[in-house]
């Protein structure tokens, strides 16, 4: 019965939004890439590098927002490498993506050691503080649950709306979706599949890096190894869960975050004393797999996902 108490507490829902934020940002990034036809398995490493770059920039003296920009730019650079190899050169997106993950992760760790050779515990920065939205944050229960978050969380939710609007309400979105479905349709209209896909991968990778930066600049105040801890792979699954639709992917991120927030709290209940804590840790993943199986049955996969496009090939 502790479960109802947990679900009725504002702090639980505030935690859900907080846990969901990096997932939402990175999922939107992956969704953009995949809609354009490129699977970006660099996501995990790009998130690590984003977490490092944003935090390092602030530690080095930049403001918080410039730090976010640095993270975005760093992500976009890895996106550029990924896109150059997979789009014009048409290399395997799996191999390149995993390579980018290894490269970005180890680059972050290397740069960390290079910048802070003597340090045993990483220095702290002053992260984004909760922003109480006037009026809304005074609403009982809903206020502290939803409207007392950091700016990056609001940004994460805004990114869903922006991605959805661009994809479904602008010529650019139309061209991106077509590039992921039938690139020759794009080429036949005189648009460049290469430019569209490369642009999508760069912007998408930038968003992934900001998702990573959320961890060091909003959720915590410092950079640790292993802190991304597989969130990138969760985002890959969330894109599938969301059937490549931004709104549904947001729902998936919230669902996963809710499971995660719940399991942390369940560990502290009397039940937690009897059940090994690993079982609780497992819960969000097991439930996510189940949800994925149920949700993704009738998803419309972008038809040209993972298919390199060569002009002039019959």
């Amino acid at each position: 019965m502790e479960i109802f108490e947990i679900l009725l507490s504002a702090s639980f829902w505030a935690a859900v939004l907080r846990i969901a934020s990096p997932l939402i940002l990175a999922t939107m990034g992956e969704l953009i890439c995949e809609r354009a036809g490129v699977l970006n398995l660099g996501i995990e490493g790009i998130m690590v590098f984003g977490a490092f770059a944003g935090w390092m920039a602030v530690y080095a003296g930049l403001g918080l927002w410039p730090g976010v920009l640095v993270a975005f730019a760093a992500g976009a650079m890895f996106g550029l490498v990924h896109a150059t190899l997979t789009v014009p050169f048409g290399l395997s997106q799996h191999v390149v993506g995993l390579g980018i993950t290894l490269l970005a992760t180890s680059s972050a760790y290397y740069a960390y050691r290079l910048a802070l050779p003597q340090v045993t515990s990483p220095p702290r920065i002053t992260p984004f503080q909760p922003l109480n939205i006037p009026v809304l944050s005074d609403i009982p229960f809903l206020g502290p649950a939803l409207f007392s978050q950091t700016a990056l969380t609001y940004l994460a939710f805004a990114s869903v709306a922006v991605v959805a609007l661009v994809l479904f309400r602008t010529p650019l979105g139309l061209a991106l979706r077509a590039a992921g479905e039938n690139p020759s349709a794009v080429e036949a209209q005189g648009l460049s599949v290469t430019a569209l896909r490369m642009g999508a991968v760069m912007v998408g990778s930038g968003l992934m890096a900001v998702g990573g930066a959320f961890l060091t600049m909003s959720a915590f105040d410092s950079f640790f190894f292993e802190m991304v801890n597989g969130r990138g792979w969760i985002c890959i699954a969330l894109v599938v869960f969301g059937a490549w639709m931004p709104g549904k992917a947001l729902l998936g991120a919230l669902l996963f975050a809710a499971f995660d927030a719940l399991q942390i709290r369940m560990q502290q209940t009397p039940m937690g004393a009897h059940v090994p804590y690993q079982v609780f840790l497992m819960v969000p993943y097991v439930l996510s797999i189940l949800a994925l199986v149920l949700m993704s049955r009738r998803a419309e996969v972008p038809a040209a996902l993972m298919v390199p496009y060569n002009r002039g090939e019959r």
Partner: protein
């Protein structure tokens, strides 16, 4: 006529793929308000020429002029901007977008806001009406029939204010009724001052729809004639380069029973009809024709003969002995040669070379494999032999098969099946989509195989083909098989009655 404005002029176009000259010094002019047919066999270079015009390929030499201005080579946007619209053989539509979205794609500045759907919808609806192109603007393209998708392609071109329309083999994928509707649309377009290039290898369509004909052969212009001053026979000669006569084989001499089905049934799956107590005898030296409307169990029978499915009940006898454990391997071992219905989906692997495709069925056995190792030298020699014997136009045995035209691909599949020396040949729609030269050749090969003692099962939706080639005809309807009819014993109308499902013992 001669004084009419030239809207499009091609001069000296040359394009090579490896050693193959797909276009060799091709030139012609299109006038305002005419339908110009570009006629040629598969592989004659028609599609390549249009891809050059459209900037998808860059020509090795030659110029393209539209409305008096030269087009820059290799720029896909240039022809569009100059007012040329193309309906490709393989549609360039995105299935996840709606009709309207597909039409809008690329028409607005990429970084603009909003799609202007309302205004665009009104314009699309007006164009649909004016040109007789009925299609719902908000339908997802994925859900449309092939004929409807083609209408979307034409609408796309018209929406961009194309003054020249190019249609690449537009009727290959259409039913006769859809083709007639398309011709009506083309007539309306010409009456409104558009100019049309109609690419085809079907003579009766060219005669019906065009004002002038340019004939391509082996990448060169073989002739240019006014449609009114020629006939199908002369066009066929120009196209093939020699007089053509469709084969009219003498009756075969029936020999021993090679395969026999007795009361065989297979389950229906989804919308795929199974067999219902089918009895069939395939004899050496005979072509057995299977007539019927598509989807009445032809697929199940073809799968059964080729070993992909086994009978659920009834008996299957091959060479006099009843078989158990019927499988694709068992069928190959029993000497079944297979020419599948869909040469792209089941007949070949697009990204494999001709050599690899040529040994797809025999790769695991002598002489292509010995002690578990592939002998690529022999495989390649085998492919080269097939290429030479069946006159396959290709850059070479190491080219990927996706580079080949449909007719050449079919010849490779035919060669692969026949060179294995099959006793039983399953020919499922062997000439579908082929031009007259390739068609004649494939049919002659089947007749020759019959005369050499093979049993041929010919499945076709073309009654004329069935009636001319078959020694025995069965009609299939709702999974039931008619009794055998001897050659010439039934008229088209009588066969049609059976095709409609009447005459069967259990017909209600």
């Amino acid at each position: 006529m001669g004084a009419r404005e030239v809207v499009l002029r091609l001069e000296g176009i040359t394009k090579r793929f490896g050693k193959l000259a797909a276009n060799d010094d091709v030139g012609f002019a299109l006038h305002r308000g005419e339908v110009l047919a570009l006629l040629g066999e598969n592989g004659a270079g028609k599609t390549t020429l249009m891809n050059i015009l459209f900037g998808h390929y860059t020509a090795d030499a030659g110029t393209v002029e539209v409305f008096g201005k030269a087009l820059p080579p290799g720029a896909p946007g240039a022809a569009l901007a100059a007012g040329v619209g193309m309906v490709h053989q393989h549609f360039t539509l995105a299935g996840n977008l709606t009709v309207l979205e597909n039409i809008l794609l690329g028409t607005r500045p990429l970084f603009g806001l909003g799609l202007g759907r309302a205004a665009a919808r009104a314009r699309v609806e007006r164009l649909s009406r004016d040109f007789g192109l009925a299609v719902h603007p908000d339908a997802k393209v994925r859900s449309l029939s092939v004929g409807e998708r083609q209408r979307v392609e034409i609408l796309k071109a018209l929406y961009r204010e194309a003054r020249i329309l190019i249609l690449d083999e537009p009727t290959a994928v259409l039913t006769p009724q859809e083709s007639d509707a398309l011709f009506a649309t083309l007539k309306k377009a010409v009456a409104l001052g558009l100019s049309i290039i109609f690419i085809s290898h079907k003579l009766h369509e060219v005669m019906a729809v065009s004002d002038r004909v340019v004939v391509l052969r082996h990448g060169k212009v073989a002739g240019e004639v006014a449609t009114a001053e020629t006939d199908r026979h002369r066009l066929a000669e120009l196209m093939v380069g020699a007089e053509v006569a469709l084969p009219h084989p003498a009756p075969g001499r029936a020999g021993e029973m090679l395969m026999e089905l007795r009361d065989v049934s297979t389950p229906s799956e989804g919308n795929r009809t199974g067999l219902r107590r089918v009895s069939l005898a395939l004899r050496a030296g005979q072509i057995t024709g299977l007539a019927g409307v598509a989807g009445n169990g032809q697929g199940a029978l073809a799968d059964l003969v080729s070993g992909l499915i086994a009978p659920a009940s009834g008996a299957l006898r091959v060479g006099g002995t009843e078989v158990s454990g019927w499988s694709p391997r068992a069928a190959l071992d029993a000497g079944v040669g297979r020419i599948p219905e869909d040469r792209h989906a089941t007949g070949s692997i697009a990204d494999f070379t001709l050599t690899e495709n040529a040994v797809l069925e025999g790769y695991a056995r002598q002489p292509f494999a010995r002690a578990g190792w592939m002998d690529w030298g022999r495989a390649r020699a085998h492919a080269e032999a097939i290429i030479a014997k069946y006159d396959i136009r290709c850059p070479g045995p190491e080219a990927r098969i996706r580079l080949l035209s449909g007719g050449n691909m079919q010849k490779l599949i035919l060669g692969r099946a026949l060179e294995a020396g099959p006793k039983i040949i399953l020919a499922n729609q062997p000439v579908r989509g082929l031009d007259i030269g390739a068609l004649t050749y494939v049919q002659e090969c089947l007749i020759a195989a019959r005369d050499a003692g093979a049993a041929v099962l010919l499945i076709s939706e073309d009654l004329d083909e069935i009636r001319v080639l078959s020694d025995v005809i069965h009609v299939i309807s709702a999974g039931r098989l008619s009794p055998p009819f001897a050659r010439g014993s039934k008229t088209v109308a009588e066969l049609g009655v059976w095709m409609a499902g009447q005459g069967f013992a259990d017909a209600a």
